[in-house]
Subunit: 372 residues, 2 copies
């Protein structure tokens, strides 16, 4: 009934859309689907699907596996799968006491993983990023020796990010650091697309997409600092300016210990990794009080503990659950599920690598242009 | 390119959709639009618009005003407007120390307003709701004597609501109370559709829709208890089970005063209406600490103080802003705007009445069936 006009869809954008549709249909299939099955699932004609599949195979994104042996009447069809020998995502993480890099291929398999434990606080941002660049270059070279092509890198940082800039990372002492720019200056990374995001956000996305977690949960990343990523109905909630999730600076004791952020009594002074390592008795209770606050505010049904919290999970559980039972107004109506991150301490770096892989999967036409 | 089939759209549902489209186009116009202007704005033909407008006028939802005097060449068109003599919404509120009712017509004008101050805590739920029913009956009779037809009622309660039931209202001592059912039992309200919602949620919607507030903000309702409604991108965020916003039970002092919810040190013990009335010095600081927590978690750019906080706003402002500056990690990057509710203490009851009016505006076909 509406007379509103629709702009004509260009042929090239239809093709780009359909390439992504075919690639993601293959990616989301339980078993390798035939070309005919992809046509059925997408509503495209078999001829269109075949042409798109040929392009995706030629561009190194799909492989076609031989059909299983003939068992009865008819000819079994060949099955399509994402290639393990094509583009890969480079996930990087800089945290207060370690650097990490991992390479994940298009099928989601981890192909390289490097971790280097060292306190990053004394070093200026440029030096810390140069050290991360060395790790990244090693990961890229190892991946390429293994037949992969690194499509891009995403860097996880424990700080507030906007427009590609790390605005503040209190525990690293960073302010307005151009992390992607400094990494691209490493000769082995020249020309590589590099993005940066908050580590708890990337870890929450890792739990959601890589580990197949719940659709609504709070991910809490315990490191020297503490961050959180809030996933609502399968989407990361970033806040008005992208700065949500700073759970480490919830006030636990208004007149308490001074924090590196300038305030006092912040959660991370009571339940950060250093308090856990020192086996301080109040850590679980402090975390339980802060998490009760989140549940009372947001009615989140699931809390996932990751980063350095993952290995301490069983030690923390009872203390946290006691506070949730006591302080969550709806505890008697519906209990909160508390669990350890499925990706353990690797959630952020895996989420970062996955973000690169998703970029390729969602825009295969762009990849084919660059690769071709 | 997709072969997915679309179910045939029934004629009656097309008409229902278009009636709502025409009614809302008139409602959202700055000046009374002509039939031709409505056709232009909706993309419907002039003949279709005229038939729908005739039905909306006959059903008592629109009026057509005489054209302004002729000033030059051509015949000025008559203008369409929502009627002030048709359906109305009955907003009701039961709070710890008062009952309220208001009637709002389709144009948004408040036509009746009743408030009764009395402590509701000693009375059982049925008695409190019977008293609210008396107020509601008075408001309905007065509105109908004034030429209005009350289309329905919405009740604001300070508690957790699900599936039409007040599950818990700690400050009223309620548990599993069927507020709509008890109100419909009042003879003067028989047959009236009645819904129930959390008072802070309805107040937040009132600020958003009636007062035309920002699209993303936290509304904080200070009464004996303290609740909050979170609006993100123009939508109320209700949480997984509809129980978000319980800011009154944020822990301000883990070993502090016992709260009616069973926990200790909850915000409402320090910054509730009774603390404000007693002029306790820590009220603004406690509120500022809790609001800093919300901003750190959710990156909310605007906080609106309503309910009993509205009249105390100037007294609270400095103390709250000092804590926000000190405790919000991004305070130096982007300050938080703090303001009093535009609807003052009436936000919840106005939001409730508006919810009824929106029901009529979004389904005029349903109203025409019921009224015809």
């Amino acid at each position: 009934m509406s007379s509103s006009t629709t702009a004509p869809v260009r042929q090239s954008s239809v093709r780009a859309h359909n390439l992504a549709l075919v690639l993601n249909t293959v990616a989301n299939s339980a078993d390798p689907p035939s070309r005919a099955a992809v046509a059925g699932a997408t509503g495209l004609t078999r001829a269109t699907v075949s042409a798109l599949v040929d392009d995706l195979i030629a561009g190194g994104l799909l492989v076609e596996r031989d059909p299983p042996p003939r068992t009865g009447a008819g000819r079994p069809a060949a099955g399509l799968a994402l290639t393990a020998a094509g583009p890969a995502g480079l996930g990087l993480e800089i945290n207060v006491d370690y650097l990490a890099a991992c390479v994940v291929d298009l099928t989601g398999a981890v192909r390289q993983r490097f971790i280097e434990h060292a306190d990053q606080r004394p070093a200026p941002a440029a030096d810390a990023l140069a050290a991360l660049g060395v790790l990244a270059a090693r990961a890229r070279l190892a991946a390429e020796a293994d037949g992969l092509v690194v499509a891009g890198a995403a860097v996880a940082v424990p700080g507030l990010v906007s427009a590609g800039l790390v605005r503040v990372a209190p525990n690293l002492g960073w302010q307005d650091v151009d992390a992607p720019g400094l990494l691209r200056a490493v000769p082995e990374l020249a020309g590589l697309p590099v993005t940066v995001d908050n580590e708890a956000n990337l870890a929450a996305l890792g739990e959601l997409r890589v580990a197949g977690g719940e659709q609504t949960f709070l991910y809490v990343s315990g490191e020297i600092g503490i961050g959180a990523g809030l996933v609502i109905d399968g989407e990361l909630y970033r806040g008005a300016r992208g700065w949500s999730g700073e759970i480490g600076h919830l006030t636990v004791d208004p007149d308490g210990k001074p924090c590196r952020c300038g305030a006092s009594g912040c959660l991370e002074q009571y339940a950060g990794q250093e308090a856990l390592a020192a086996d301080e008795p109040g850590a679980a209770a402090a975390l339980g009080i802060a998490l009760s606050t989140v549940v009372n505010l947001l009615d989140v049904p699931v809390i996932v503990l990751g980063g350095a919290y993952a290995p301490y999970f069983e030690r923390l559980r009872d203390g946290i659950e006691a506070e949730l039972r006591r302080r969550v107004l709806t505890a008697g109506l519906a209990p909160v599920t508390l669990r350890a991150a499925r990706l353990g301490a690797d959630a952020a770096v895996r989420g970062a690598a996955d973000a690169v892989i998703r970029g390729v999967r969602d825009d295969p036409a762009g990849w084919l242009r660059r690769a071709g």
